[in-house]
């Protein structure tokens, strides 16, 4: 797992912009899920997107990895502005993600799920696979070794061969992280990795996120509801509300921004008014 070791920088991130979102707008019929959102993610940092329910956070991630196509605006990744792109193309450029509602391959084992994450690094052809010769066999061993390291890292040894559909929720989240890591991405999108977890599981997961960022230098874009976690982990934060960006900056800046406070506590204020 040393592929990106060279890029390792401090937790604060470098000044190189990995992904730039400019004035992105996303419409479904009459609904405007995102309106004019702009921000930058710098290589090596942990960047968080927060906001109340329905703020458009997941839509933003979906735009970044090509599942949705912005109605207008541009997304520049590694210096190249992207037009509409299929998700698998984005993936091949080094973007991996996890999902708010777990999207594992339920019929497959933990190991196979993580191995699937390696598929972009696989070159064996169908015929090689069928005859189990040449690259097919060699790559299988190499990837297996790599995935075992991830399994060790995430403490999943005991469920290696268990079908993931039968695993408890917390472990499934971890397997999903493993699958994303297996792709050795440059940009890792985590959509509420701690949702529905108890405190202990959250601490574990936070540890993994930090380790991934520290040890492998992966850039992370995180969506999370738990403010405590976000404030602890993030280098920078962007705040969305009703599809609009209402604040941006370091955790400290954001938590003191009156617009952000209003968005989060708006209901009460209206009630008082």
């Amino acid at each position: 797992m040393a592929a990106n070791a060279a890029d390792v920088t401090s937790r604060a991130g470098s000044s190189e912009v990995l992904l730039k979102v400019e004035d992105v707008e996303l419409r479904f019929g009459g609904v405007r899920a995102l309106r004019g959102v702009s921000f930058e993610i710098r290589r090596g940092e942990i960047f968080s997107i927060i906001g109340p329910n329905g703020a458009g956070k997941s839509s933003m991630l979906n735009c970044i990895n090509g599942f949705y196509h912005p109605t207008s605006g541009t997304i520049t990744y590694k210096g190249q502005p992207r037009k509409a792109m299929r998700p698998y193309v984005t993936a091949s450029q080094g973007v991996a993600r996890t999902f708010q509602n777990i999207a594992l391959f339920k019929g497959m084992s933990t190991l196979d799920n993580i191995m699937t994450g390696r598929h972009l690094k696989t070159k064996a052809t169908l015929l090689e696979n069928a005859f189990w010769f040449g690259r097919a066999k060699r790559e299988e061993m190499e990837h297996r070794k790599f995935c075992e390291e991830i399994i060790d890292f995430l403490n999943l040894q005991h469920v290696r061969k268990t079908p993931v559909g039968t695993l408890p929720y917390g472990l499934q989240k971890r397997v999903e992280l493993g699958r994303a890591l297996a792709a050795e991405p440059e940009l890792l999108l985590l959509d509420e990795p701690m949702a529905g977890m108890n405190l202990e599981e959250k601490q574990d997961m936070a540890r993994f996120v930090l380790d991934v960022n520290d040890e492998f230098g992966m850039t992370i874009c995180l969506i999370e509801h738990d403010m405590g976690v976000v404030m602890d982990l993030s280098d920078r934060i962007v705040v969305l509300d009703h599809g609009e960006m209402i604040g941006q900056g370091t955790p400290a800046e954001v938590s003191n921004d009156p617009k952000v406070i209003e968005a989060y506590l708006g209901v009460q204020e209206e009630g008082e008014a």
Binding site: L104, T116, H119, A183
Partner: protein, 352 residues
């Protein structure tokens, strides 16, 4: 504790990823192969070889093919009969119109079927689930219609054509035993290929598409290419099964005979045998071939004379019910039952 795995430690990933990691399974496989290759041809009667084992071996091959598509890649197809027909007619035309050697004819027939499969798999780009299942019926109806055009049977007055002699590298496959061996060899080899494919990165991609195609695409799997590959491989298997069906089993070809109900039969095999299991495909094929024969033999043997017609009705009813039963009780079919038996043997004689 017949089925013990304790004491067997995997020292390498290669050993752990072997097709049969357990020594007992390996011994069993070798034993079974010995029986299939040496014992059965000696003891099995003509009838058993000709009317049970041959169709079973060929159906097993078709079922493996369909299972690759349905069980592994999650793309349901009701066009199996049509694809078998393509294989059979492609081989017949290649064999009678060209001088190509028979092994090449078999291979080309498989490839032509694979191409046809890809063509009819194209709607999978946009269409999913049972929508796709229904559009595969288009393949079924169109292909059978097409193959009934007189050119394909070389203007045979009855439209039924006799299969040519099968000559494999100088081996003239004529007697029942010969035909059994050829079908068996092809099945064993192709089952092995199928097993290799499903345990490889290709198989994992198929299963990823099956389990959640959206997520698969997001981790970088190209859905279209992956699905089409499944259509191609599946059709290749099914096409070869069609060739064997015409050339080895029936000795004749008739497009109408590969009708929609053949497609259903093969689908039954994989549901009953186990979706997403190579072993299951083979178990299911055996089941579907044997049940009608049992129903024909057993009632009269135990003194319950049913008319032939009634037996057929009961058979239709039983198959329908079994499909429902397996889907409800054991969606992984007989293959799962087999592994449960192994599980029990592992602990035997202790209940836990």
């Amino acid at each position: 504790m017949i089925y013990r795995e304790s004491g067997q430690f995997k020292k390498s990933y290669a050993a752990d990823q072997a097709i049969l990691p357990l020594r007992q399974d390996q011994v069993f496989l070798i034993g079974a192969l010995l029986v299939a290759f040496l014992v059965i041809p000696m003891v099995a009667s003509n009838y058993v070889m000709n009317a049970l084992l041959l169709p079973f071996l060929i159906y097993a091959l078709a079922a493996i093919g369909l299972n690759l598509l349905v069980g592994y890649c999650g793309q349901i197809s009701l066009g199996t009969g049509g694809f078998m027909a393509v294989g059979a007619f492609a081989a017949w035309n290649l064999a009678t119109r060209t001088e190509l050697p028979m092994p090449v004819v078999f291979l080309l027939a498989g490839l032509i079927t694979a191409g046809t499969g890809v063509l009819f798999g194209l709607p999978a780009l946009r269409i999913k689930g049972f929508y796709l299942a229904v559009t595969t019926l288009a393949a079924q109806f169109f292909l059978i219609w097409l193959l009934q055009r007189p050119w394909f049977n070389n203007y045979s007055p009855t439209g039924v054509i006799s299969a040519p002699e099968v000559n494999m590298f100088g081996w003239v496959v004529d007697s029942v035993t010969d035909r059994y061996y050829l079908a068996l060899i092809i099945l064993v080899v192709m089952a092995l290929l199928a097993k290799n494919i499903v345990r490889s990165s290709t198989g994992r991609k198929w299963m990823a598409i099956r389990d959640m195609d959206v997520a698969a695409e997001i981790i970088g799997i190209r859905p279209m290419a992956t699905k089409l590959k499944a259509f191609a491989v599946s059709s290749f298997f099914v096409g070869i099964a069609g060739v064997l069906w015409g050339f080895l089993y029936l000795g004749q070809l008739e497009a109408e005979a590969f009708n929609i109900y053949v497609s259903f039969d093969v689908l039954f095999m994989i549901i009953i045998g186990g979706l997403g299991s190579i072993l299951g495909s083979i178990l299911g094929a055996a089941f579907v071939v044997l049940v009608p024969i049992f129903l024909n033999v057993v009632p009269s043997a135990i003194g319950l004379p049913l008319s032939t017609a009634m037996i057929s009705y009961v058979e239709i009813f039983i198959f329908g019910s079994l499909i429902i039963f397996f889907l409800i009780v054991e969606p992984h079919g007989m293959a799962r039952l087999w592994s449960i038996i192994k599980q029990k043997l592992r602990l035997w004689p202790f209940p836990y």
